[in-house]
Symmetry: C2
Subunit: 331 residues, 2 copies
DNA sequence: TTGAAAGCGCTAACAA
DNA sequence: TTGTTAGCGCTTTCAA
């Protein structure tokens, strides 16, 4: 293994002090032009790169942004990560991605790692749950919560989506079409998103003069499997004529279940998904959905991430974008 | 801003030397049990985490793995990243993801960043092209090329896919169905994958006794847009009855074009995609495709990544998994 | 069982 | 214009 290339090795090669090399590389004016050129050339030759570790140890900010997502398989998360990465690349920031699988312990682990590496900012979709012992897992971390919000007892920004309007609209639309037995599958109340989406669904039903039976509203820890099983149960029982989904994973799971059962979504049962994967429009003539503005979310997040570069003060804000009800053939 | 918590601050609080703290935290036997307990407790209290920067500067390996992908929007890449992240998490490794957009300059930039941060291993889907001046961009980096292979003039491992068999099979199948004018849309010859897939297509045609016209084989720098335009052109000209795709992005683009044109893929034109996004099976009765084993690829890659932890020697191997032709209604 | 010194790569502050 | 020193957080080596 060849030794690392450092300013000292350059200095040694050129018979000058490492300080001169440092100055030459950082465009200081206090270097003779000729010296600078020699240094730059030598640096090129032997492939010098500045040591991140040394810079960090001296107290420089790291330009590392942590991104903590449930997974990357769901197109929403993948698109968000993709879009955010592109924004950050422009700023010269690097993205460190951790997947939580919506598991709070993994989330804690990931935050620890991010703290070690001194990622100063973290964008996270919080997992459902609470920390057993909340000793400074978030210390030194500037946090932006995405989509969902959890009590953090620490200043934390939030980029959220107001999906109430879209959900109410979706329910109203179903009622208009004559649906009476409309089911809802969503996340449980551990997270802000679970609570508010359910509330929106109920409010939509009430506005339509409908009263949902308790067995028509399934709220549990959200996941693909949960969506799958819930939808299959509803379909098999045959007691509902429409399904509204309240989560990305849930939506895909539920859709999968319906398709696997051979249900016609433009006939047998009306279906309203959540999020808007590129392929929803091509399935069964098009899946109606609550569309979440991924790109805007990423742009807004990037903006927040960067803006605070200057004002290092309290990281505490709350932005809300709006979801949209997209009507296609499935409803 | 509170000052960083270090072993020195703990030492100061406890009125002992930072060396004792260091020993206590690293489970050295040379510490009095009582002292150790006090240190551990204090560390807990004030949320101490070991400094990544300091460790790195001392010469410790970083546990950072760079992942360089064209994008995360394509489900294949997203699944690969997801899967790899899960494997690596177990090993305590962190994934730093950079997106190249298949642009060689961005790729170069990303590699530089990875070198700065001392990510010792990098998994990359090489972008088409060559470096203008190849001065040690890869120095100190242990590289695994994924899917495609490019001349690197540096020892680099490779985890590839042998898709020839599947492509030949796909063409044979189309010929069996009576197709004579079969088109191919794939990447150009700058990359190994582009060359080998085209070769496989040609060989399949030859075996079926068919001679493809030059205008039926479109090979360019691969992208979604390229697939989209190529397919639209083919469809509009109406000179072919089947399309075979030779790339992930291309496949999605081409499929999109066909769907947007309202083509029936189980009637008008036969279509064989590339990669197997979860939704291909639900579109138009199911899209036939060349399926690439994502999960196995990630597993194999993780294995290589970890195995070499022990033997720090030459990073030079070549593994090949096999693609599979999946027949659905679109062909 | 504890502590002091040195060094990893770099730059601010001072000295020449 | 160039060089020397010190210190960021940590562990290895040597000394007490």
């Amino acid at each position: 293994m060849t030794k690392r290339v450092t300013i000292k090795s350059i200095a040694h090669d050129l018979g000058i002090s490492h300080m001169t090399v440092s100055r030459a590389l950082s465009n200081s004016s206090k270097v003779r032009e000729q010296t600078r050129r020699k240094v730059l050339q030598r640096a090129q030759e032997i492939g010098y790169v500045k040591s991140f570790a040394a810079a960090t140890m001296r107290g420089e900010q790291t330009a590392l942004i942590g991104l903590l997502l449930p997974n990357l398989v769901n197109e929403f998360y993948a698109r968000f990560a993709d879009s955010l990465a592109q924004h950050l690349e422009v700023e010269g920031q690097q993205l460190i991605i951790h997947l939580s699988g919506d598991d709070i312990d993994k989330e804690r682990q990931a935050l620890l790692k991010l703290r070690e590496i001194q990622a100063n900012r973290v964008v996270m979709v919080p997992a459902p749950g609470v920390y057993e012992n909340q000793k400074g897992y978030l210390q030194d971390l500037q946090i932006i919560q995405l989509i969902r919000q959890r009590e953090m007892n620490v200043a934390a920004g939030a980029v959220l989506v107001d999906d109430s309007g879209a959900i109410v609209q979706a329910v109203a639309h179903l009622a208009d079409q004559g649906h009476r037995r409309i089911a809802y599958i969503g996340g449980d109340s551990l997270l802000s998103s679970g609570r508010s989406r359910l509330a929106a669904f109920l409010s939509g039903m009430r506005l339509a003069g409908l009263e949902p039976g308790a067995d028509q509203m399934i709220t549990e820890r959200p996941s693909f499997a949960m969506g799958y099983h819930s939808a299959r149960g509803l379909v098999d029982q045959g007691r509902v004529t429409a399904i509204v989904c309240g989560g990305f994973e849930i939506s895909n799971g539920a859709l999968h279940a319906c398709l696997a059962r051979g249900i016609s979504l433009s006939g047998d049962i009306s279906f309203i998904g959540f999020g808007d994967p590129s392929w929803y429009r091509w399935i069964g003539g098009g899946i109606s959905t609550i569309k979440i503005p991924v790109t805007s979310l990423a742009a807004k997040t990037a903006e927040m991430l960067v803006k605070k570069d200057s004002a290092e003060k309290n990281y505490d804000f709350r932005h809300q974008l709006t979801a949209e009800f997209i009507r296609r053939r499935s409803s």
